[in-house]
Amino acid sequence: MKGEQEFEEFFVSTYGGLLRTLTAVTGNAEMAADALQDAYQRAFVRWSKISRYDAPAAWVRRVAINRSRDLARSDSRRRANEERAADPELVVDEEVDVDNELLSLLRPLPERQRTAMALFYLDALSIDQVAEAMNISTGAVKYHLNQGREKLRPLLEQRDPQ
């Protein structure tokens, strides 16, 4: 698959799903969109190569996840600097709220657990595929999923008491 037209079709068919996943991974819709834009740019300029991959979307997802980590680090540093400089009483949470209970449940989880959960449950990837996307072993994926489930389950029960 070559050319700009094909890339556009690839983008249209994959963007929505990847944006959902990245939003769940980052807990921040704006950061997810930025990370995805960067990943698609990288795919665009390498399209003659990327288009030959079995799963170009997996490549974009992986680059976007890596990019989102960089953005999260930068954002964290920026916030820390701002909070140090600001009056503590005036500091407010600037998280972009995309109206979601799921995101508020996921946000307290460590990044690896959040990523594993989003890829497994939202993208319906297999354990092997999650491991490939996160560049970690399948054992590590299972560990992060189990940890994530253990933390989410009581939160969900708290939300929906039987």
Binding site: L19, Q41, V63, N66, L102
Partner: protein
Amino acid sequence: MTPNDPIKDAFDSWSGQRIDPSAARAEYATMLPGLHRARRVRRFRQGVAAAFALTVGVASPSVIASMGNSPAVNLIESADGGSIDAPPAPDEPEVVETAPTVELAQIDNAATTESPDEMIEPVEPVEPVEAAAPVNAGTGQSVDPSTAPVEPNDGSSHSDDTSDDHNNLGPGPHTVVTPGGSMTVELAADGTITLIDYTVADGFEADVDQEADDVDIVFSNGDETYEVEASISDGQLEIEKDPHS
């Protein structure tokens, strides 16, 4: 995972960030100028080596013809957002470390004349040129060319490249180093790229994607990611190093 798994249900019922195809297409239209710009920047980076070859007088006539009469003009930006300085005036000594620049408009023109079926055009071939200072492969220290032993030009020379991109590299092994690891590749006689060796820094993992005409390694430790990519452009080895995402 069972049908009654509350965690799965929570994900399945999540309505956030649903984008329909028309919205995705609109997003693509918004993003398209940035995509084109990124492609021009990448082309520029590929073209820098050709311009450099022109400056030192080893470029082929076809490159000179393609560059026009004024190959050295300011660049607006590089891929990492930084700017590249203008080259020295003709009467000044040549400074190897300073990347010569080409007119961005020429890159724009190239972008508009490309074949619609192939988005990335190869760079015009030039004679192989090794811009990096000679390096002792054992110590990694720079070697004074005037005192370094002269090696036969048999393609066995070995260079350690630490700058971002290298185009039209000559025969022989070439090593590119990043904080996450290094990669050594060689352009084989049959025109394919051979991955001779790679090393991974402590704490990093390497993801190797090796094809006959392209070797790509991503070094990642979860916090930092570095990518090195060797490819062939018009029969010449081209190495790109990217401290990306």
